[in-house]
Symmetry: C2
Subunit: 595 residues, 2 copies
Amino acid sequence: MSFQSFEPPATSSDDIRGRVAALRARFAGLGVDGVVIPHEDEYQSEYLPASEERLAFITGFTGSAGRAIVLNDRALFATDGRYTLQLERQVPGDLFHRVSEEKAARAWEEENLPGVRLGVDPRLHTRADLKRLGEIEGLTIVRLDGHPVDDVWTDRPAPPRGRVKAHPMALAGQSPAEKLAAVRAATKGDAVLVTASDAVSWLFNWRGADVAHTPLVLARAIVPKEGEAVVFVDPEKLPNDLAGELAGLARIAAPATFLSALEELAAGKRVVADPARSPDAALAAIEARGTLVEGVDPTMRLKAEKNAAEIAGVRAAHVRDGVAVTRFLAWFDDHAVGSTEIGLAERLEAFRREAGALDLSFDTIAGSGPNGAIVHYRVDRSTDRRVEAGDPVLLDSGAQYADGTTDVTRTMVAGTATDDFRVQFTRVLKGNIALARQRFPEGAMGAELDPLARAALWRAGHDYAHGTGHGIGAYLAVHEGPQGISKRGREPLATGMLVSNEPGDYRAGEWGIRIETVLLVREPRVPPGGLKPMHWFETLTLVPIDTRLVIPTLLTPDEIGWLDSYHARVHGALVGDLDAAERAWLATRCRPIGG
Amino acid sequence: MSFQSFEPPATSSDDIRGRVAALRARFAGLGVDGVVIPHEDEYQSEYLPASEERLAFITGFTGSAGRAIVLNDRALFATDGRYTLQLERQVPGDLFHRVSEEKAARAWEEENLPGVRLGVDPRLHTRADLKRLGEIEGLTIVRLDGHPVDDVWTDRPAPPRGRVKAHPMALAGQSPAEKLAAVRAATKGDAVLVTASDAVSWLFNWRGADVAHTPLVLARAIVPKEGEAVVFVDPEKLPNDLAGELAGLARIAAPATFLSALEELAAGKRVVADPARSPDAALAAIEARGTLVEGVDPTMRLKAEKNAAEIAGVRAAHVRDGVAVTRFLAWFDDHAVGSTEIGLAERLEAFRREAGALDLSFDTIAGSGPNGAIVHYRVDRSTDRRVEAGDPVLLDSGAQYADGTTDVTRTMVAGTATDDFRVQFTRVLKGNIALARQRFPEGAMGAELDPLARAALWRAGHDYAHGTGHGIGAYLAVHEGPQGISKRGREPLATGMLVSNEPGDYRAGEWGIRIETVLLVREPRVPPGGLKPMHWFETLTLVPIDTRLVIPTLLTPDEIGWLDSYHARVHGALVGDLDAAERAWLATRCRPIGG
């Protein structure tokens, strides 16, 4: 069985109409005029098991972020700029007012929610989310017991029971005991609530199989300053030896007991929880008999700042992944025309399996021609497109290896590119290089780096409606917090963090360009002739960037220098693992462009 | 009488010791263990009349931002990175723990304030400020009636009574009636509280003489959605004709009645006030009998987005100021060596008076050699320094003209610069050019532009401990909100806003470099070949940048192109107002450097 399925979603707009009607029929009984259907589940996770795909069930939308608000006679569907085109294809416009900008969503809410009693499931929303909603004047938020979608979802799949396996110490670099000690040392209070599943998985060196492409274990934990931690996870998922290793460190509790156990454990205690990441219901459970200390969960940053063992693993994974993607690119040059998007994705997956991949890290985005303009395009048999000569192809993909998670985007052209396309490609490349070679002081936030990748595009009157980069786990979630390089990235970058670097440019109906590499934040050092220590980036991704698409005169000598030395590194790292034909291809593709 | 006084502050450290002791002697009677002395007055203003210089009275510090916390046996003095060197000279280190970084200030507070009953004057603090302080665990905030410094300040000057004059319609571009209508249209509530004096001055087209160098009228206002506004301003300041013009628009009330009148006016009403800009005491007065609606004061953005008449005035003022500064620079080349910093400031002021300046817009910063490294250096007779051959000189100055406010920094060398200095100068220039030629989409915040001016410095291991730019008024405050280009600049830039562009580099004990111009945010337009409309900057400042200090090979062709075309504009704008010798000098200094 392949890692990725290409079956189209089976939901028709008639299905959706029926489901929305069934949902509305329940409003009166619940005493509400409408309900919110968030994308997130009770783990506040982007990565959902099938049992939690409430938003897809009600709207047809299969992207990774969004929300719906269904009222008696109207409804909103809101997502972000990555999904502008997808939402038009999937979400029926006669049922939903569809927007892909937060400002537009807010305008709809302010217009339509005053006077409304709006039902929410407080397990599925962070408190920050409900607070934002509560600021709409005249809106009454009604906290429901469970989500009404579940009552109309008659064939709802069972919750997942992915088997938990150990992430070995050689790759994790730290034992759960050491990690728990670090979390405790950073906790200002009697206990801290850890609600992100990837954070719990990191904390106990667990990997799981609850959701597609992301080896996290759906779980939550409470870490007291002293004494055993409590992990809320289905005990059936846990092999005996792993359960045994927890002795003295933590005890297991059933997920269904989470809120009641939290209330009991928090009684008379000061418990740290993050209103921006933890469910409102959990915060209420703390407040019932204890004191809520609003603060960040220290596990998030500890997880994000990779240690030496994790970095070694991730570097090794990037070499293997670089070999797989490079072999694919060599193949692409001869075989792209006449292939289809699914054909490309399948061939790439085959190379990755040979390189030892355990899974993809997300469904491959293989967008040819106009499909490339759909930022998060997910090809299926109903949209599959034959690649014609001259077509640009945007390929955004990644894999899970036992020692690391990868995420790389390359944009190619099947045949010869137009000069216009090469100009745009070069501008996107300028953005990627600007970020890759930037140094920055300690404490700099992602929001301060984001514009550096956009500056060349902004000057030319272009922009991309997505962030420049996200955090990445080590054999864990391909999107991880808390760091991010975007307008909203308020978290200081720190040594050992991984972030993607993926500026792009999209022309609706024609093509998309994106160039993505994974960066490792390196320890501050004083540059030659400088005064202050500065962080710098090591580009971990090792895959050639197609210089046939570059107009060298649009690059500065420094930019050309960066590109040439990057290709020298790529060549050196990969050449030993390729066959003769691939080696010849790589040598050509890594040739310096600066005299 | 000259605009600027060069007398050194008369406060000795013995004075300070006595004042701190007298202040401490009052703590027991007030039932507190300490008090906060903020820089701001009850107008939350950076610009203080002598009667409000509490912080200078207690600490000796004469800079424009800071705070002290005096406890029984210890004290904190905190300011920002612009004043790192100045605080060491002015604030006695044996009395105060002195810091110039917010992180260090916070650490002191968290260490020393638990268990303390800390007195504050709620007229002098915004609510956001007190909230931040209140987050320190175990600290009790005691709201006092007035500030205890006033009780020990026996020779405190009387409050100012600067005469109010009208800012003519030809320059204001809008009548108070039109402005009030715009404020009302943007107000979500029954009334809005306007607490910034420059905003009130803008609203009623008033200019005053309450504080040095800034023609604002110390005043506050309440603007109801319907009916007359109320302006709290000393009626003695107001000529009869101006008072008459208010008929039907607003009525005058005495400043001392502000809190009681606010409480009465707010009774049963929903009043908008900004917790980040308005005093805690005012918010409490609203809450006493009415409803506080937390929100921004719309006057701030309306004032910041200059209209066509204001822009025309500001442009004209920049031409006159450019002539004055350029004449000074020509003089500097022949006369700097052997002159002193005060001599330079006096000569520059003389040129500005000839150009029609009504005042300086702030005390001229003329820092030669090591004094240039003091970001906000204010020369006086005790620090005045003779300029020697080879000395770098940082000159940051501005003036008030009837039609506009200027602010310009140029860095020169008296004689020949070292190559090392030229390298640093060129890097700072790269930052200034990067911002000046950047385009950006609607909605971009100052925080997104700030790093563009730092990128070249960061790459070289340099940085500056201040923001890149501040807002600027039109014949009003040289620092105005809400916009700013800094890490904290969360306000979207909009057409008509003025911001400074002033990257720098400082080597303690040696020199400072800063290059500052004023930028006007221009309306979005689609660049040639682009897709999206983008804002762009018009550089208003018209003063040559010394190309003898530039290493052209460190600039890209685009940067050289910008510099050469800037100098062509400068030459064209100024040449008609110079004498023959100055014209020859200007022609040489505006020669293109790019072949």
